[in-house]
């Protein structure tokens, strides 16, 4: 931003106060945003005694990773005491194919809709776009029925199908908005050079797509990993994805409430998406804004 938009020119006394106030507000909000992270990590490292006796905000006396290990491999979810590990792999097995499938289809659809404008392409896009905003409650019931008819209820395949289909609207939107910015003349030149639909996609469009592929993969992975509604609606017991299992773990009421294990479980469950955020935050933000703003 230019000089003119800062609140005050430097030097003056009030400017210093303004600057201090500004920083104070920023820091208060930073504390507010970080508080849950601090509490979750701190609690997960404490022993139960320490949690009951001490303060929520105190630092753990020592780094104790028992709760993490317990949450991963031993904690009881309902009546089965396997920890989160099998559910973690359920989520991985669900997320990888669903992300791949929806990204690939989204790329092809976006390409066909922008670079090969056929009659009705805009109508098709508008209909797909609205799919981004349909509240999923309205499709749950028929979906449960359909999965039953196909015979993939309570399997990872069922969730792969669900997430691929409902992710498709978003990935199509991403790729469509990205491909709109690639000049049509490239496709025309390649057509005259003798390349066809798929050759142009493979040789010219795809090599230009890595940024939007990253955006799409990150978005889809986060959405699928963090999904609770579909997981809870279409799976039970051992087939559940980690988000559902984690919630059940926390709400399992048998025995003593182990807050440290709950928090460790939350941490483990959140770890993959946080990792993605830290590694590729830039693309993460782009997905959020691109996915939600532009039509």
């Amino acid at each position: 931003m230019s000089e003119q938009t800062t609140f005050v020119p430097a030097q003056t006394r009030s400017a210093v106060w303004m600057r201090l106030l500004l920083w104070a507000v920023l820091i208060v909000f930073a504390i507010w945003f970080l508080l849950p992270a601090y509490v979750v990590v701190g609690t997960s490292l404490k022993e139960l005694e320490e949690i009951r006796g001490g303060s929520l905000l105190s630092l753990p006396h020592e780094l104790n990773f028992w709760a993490w290990k317990h949450a991963w491999s031993e904690a009881c979810i309902g009546v089965t005491c396997t920890g989160l590990e099998p559910y973690f792999w359920n989520s991985v097995k669900m997320a990888i194919p669903a992300v791949t499938l929806s990204t690939l289809l989204g790329a092809l659809t976006g390409y066909a809709l922008t670079k090969w404008q056929f009659k009705g392409a805009n109508m098709v896009f508008a209909l797909i776009l609205f799919g981004c905003f349909v509240p999923f409650q309205v499709v749950i019931l028929p979906m449960a029925q359909t999965l039953g008819i196909i015979g993939i209820t309570n399997t990872v395949y069922g969730l792969i199908l669900v997430h691929s289909v409902y992710g498709l609207a978003f990935t199509t939107l991403f790729f469509r908005n990205y491909y709109v910015t690639i000049p049509d003349e490239l496709v025309r030149a390649a057509t005259i050079d003798g390349a066809g639909f798929f050759t142009i996609f493979r040789r010219i469009i795809l090599p230009l797509s890595p940024p939007i592929i990253v955006v799409s993969v990150i978005w889809q992975f986060t959405q699928i990993w963090n999904d609770f509604l579909f997981g809870a609606s279409f799976t039970t017991g051992g087939a559940q994805p980690i988000m559902v299992a984690m919630n059940n773990l926390v709400n399992t009421t048998t025995g003593v409430k182990q807050y440290n294990v709950d928090m460790a479980a939350a941490l483990i469950t959140a770890a993959p998406t946080i990792f993605v955020y830290i590694v590729a935050g830039r693309y993460f933000v782009r997905g959020l804004t691109a996915g939600s703003v532009k039509g």
Partner: protein, 298 residues
């Protein structure tokens, strides 16, 4: 001289774009629009535990609106939606303006503000539920500091549970709104700002009179996206309050789930889903229409 007939391969090649779009489009048609019709149909039947395809008209809707649980859910949605959107926008906008003042550690602070967006509502709910734990949470800590009347056990209070939802939802989304506004602030035409300050406008005045009004589209986008989030809110309620105490903090999405999967009231569940869809459509369709329209003229 005769016209050479079009080669078959060329004819297929010409249709390739449509052929490629077809699977995705068919999937969306079936799994979105087909399912909407399906649910719409179910919402007009006496379906209980299993779908029943005998139409009984709008009776499920009548029943729906007679249920206290649904009224509470709607009322909660109204309160939650309004406060959530308003607060998230105010905080997001404030943070964006503050971060726009050439802050040294801007990138770092932005990372802190935005990380909740990477986390699921289930985790957010679980974490805040723990912080709001009446005996071991923040309440005890603050009372220990001497503020004896401090109360933060919102999740267990019938009146406060909805505000607990608002707080957690704002915590999760404010950073996103900030990112939205920040990128919009950065794209404001610098020449206009220069011209205004040459005219003698103070920085505050420039913000209020020039920059913020020019961001009206972004405000619109933010409101629409947040409203959409609010209507779909389900996981946060499950993890933070469980809809309780009782059903004091239940939202329509939770109502629908409860009716469909726990109470064997599929018909009523479907009716509630249709009401949710209508609400979303009432917000989204005009918005998308104007967005797509506007694009064409540019």
């Amino acid at each position: 001289m005769t016209r050479p007939p079009l080669k078959l391969t060329d004819r297929i090649a010409r249709k390739l774009p449509q052929i490629v779009v077809a699977p995705s489009f068919t999937a969306i048609l079936f799994f979105v629009y087909g399912f909407i019709i399906w649910t719409g149909y179910i919402s007009l039947t006496k379906s209980k535990m299993l779908p029943n395809y005998n139409l009984i008209g709008f009776r499920p809707y009548e029943r729906l609106f007679q249920m206290d649980r649904w009224s509470v859910a709607l009322e909660n949605l109204f309160v939650f939606g309004f406060l959530f959107i308003f607060t998230a926008i105010v905080i997001g906008c404030l943070l964006a303006i503050l971060l726009d003042q050439k802050i040294r550690a801007e990138g770092f602070i932005r990372t802190i503000y935005l990380y909740p967006m990477a986390i699921s509502f289930i985790i957010t709910g679980t974490a805040w539920k723990w912080i709001m734990n009446p005996s071991l949470g923040l309440e005890t800590v603050v009372r220990g500091w001497g503020w004896e009347s401090f109360s933060f056990g919102w999740t267990n209070s019938e009146t406060m549970a909805v505000y607990a939802l608002v707080m957690a939802a704002v915590w999760q989304s404010a950073g996103f709104v900030m990112a939205l506004f920040l990128s919009a602030l950065r794209s404001v035409d610098q020449d206009i700002i220069k011209a205004a300050s040459l005219d003698g406008a103070s920085p505050w005045r420039i913000y209020l009179r020039i920059i913020l009004p020019s961001m009206r589209p972004v405000f619109m986008s933010a409101v629409v996206i947040l409203a959409h989030l609010a209507i779909k809110s389900f996981d946060l309620v499950v993890a933070l309050t469980g809809g309780g105490p009782g059903y004091a903090s239940t939202l329509p999405a939770n109502f629908m789930y409860e009716m469909t999967f726990r109470r064997n009231e599929i018909g009523v569940g479907a009716a509630s889903a249709m009401v949710m869809l209508a609400t979303v459509a009432a917000i989204m369709v005009p918005y998308l229409y104007s967005e797509l329209r506007g694009k064409k003229h540019v």
